[in-house]
Symmetry: C2
Subunit: 190 residues, 2 copies
């Protein structure tokens, strides 16, 4: 998606050889107009697929998923990383290892909000090592529901996330795929 | 806003005399169509106000703020509760005491994303004791910017949040105001 790639080139900041900072428009300040274009593109990429729910994980996936949901006309469910007082005790859960934080965290979804006949599109801001997507797909499968695919804003193709996720039979569609960031230079796939 | 009040009556769950669980449509599973109607209503309630940015706090404020932002045509910034690796070191910060969790947490916004000429609408899912709104307004003031008002989905009028926030000169507009939940019975203000 040219619009997103151009925005990454303009406003993204490469730190070291593997960190891309996009808090200017994607995960701290949010460019909602851009998110609308991204939502339309996700709809195009998953055209013809029956989708009943979008699943994401707090916090940075929520806005992207919510704006996209308007083009699918479905509700969003976000997996929780932090337990509130009001969380249902009956939850589907998965352990997700974060390479950036070098620790595991547990994500949870109330059993009420994914049912066995759901066809779920997973949406997230980044695909790097794929662990968040795997965790969400485990949750969908615990519910006996089906993962239709994973829609990603930015994929780091130099990490192994796509292979890990595709190995689980999940179709991955990314709006911008970064092949390399060596020496601070962003190289996109095609 | 009748639509939201009716939804609370249908799908909200009162726990004890002060907790309202709305995770079916507002803060775990998200009814994006409803959020669109809420966004339009926020626009109506703050009609004529020049607004340049919407500020909210992770996680449950993000979707409501993002959908609403489409009617204001402005970016959203969400204050972070949890530090990521990529957070700017230059931040505006405030301490927020959570009565439900009985502990304080620190919210942060990068100095890049609020500037002195911003006119900020704060949006959040709940107004109870008002501490999250106060924290966000402190952040806006640290930036030398102006808080235009606070748009709230659900206000618990039996707690003192409105008084606390209005004392700071902030105009509060809530879409559903709950007067009492004694004995599990929801009573809305008119």
């Amino acid at each position: 998606m040219e619009l997103l790639k151009n925005r990454i080139l303009t406003d993204g900041k490469v730190i070291g050889n593997s960190v891309l900072k996009v808090d200017n428009f994607l995960n701290h300040q949010l460019d909602i107009k851009l998110f609308n274009e991204m939502g339309k593109e996700f709809r195009r990429l998953f055209e013809g697929e029956a989708i009943t729910k979008i699943l994401t994980v707090e916090a940075s996936g929520i806005a992207i998923a919510s704006i996209a949901a308007q083009y699918f006309d479905v509700p969003v469910v976000f997996a929780k990383k932090y337990l509130g007082n009001n969380m249902d005790s009956e939850t589907y859960e998965a352990e997700v290892f974060s390479f950036t934080k070098n620790q595991s965290f547990r994500i949870r979804v109330s059993k009420k909000y994914i049912s066995h006949d759901d066809r779920v599109l997973i949406i997230d801001d980044f695909l790097a090592n794929g662990r968040a997507i795997l965790g969400m797909s485990q949750i969908v499968r615990q519910a006996g529901a089906r993962v239709v695919g994973a829609g990603i804003a930015i994929e780091k193709a130099f990490q192994n996330g796509r292979a890990v996720v595709e190995q689980e039979g999940i179709r991955v569609k990314s709006l911008a795929i970064i092949e390399s960031m060596e020496g601070g230079k962003l190289v996109f796939k095609d």
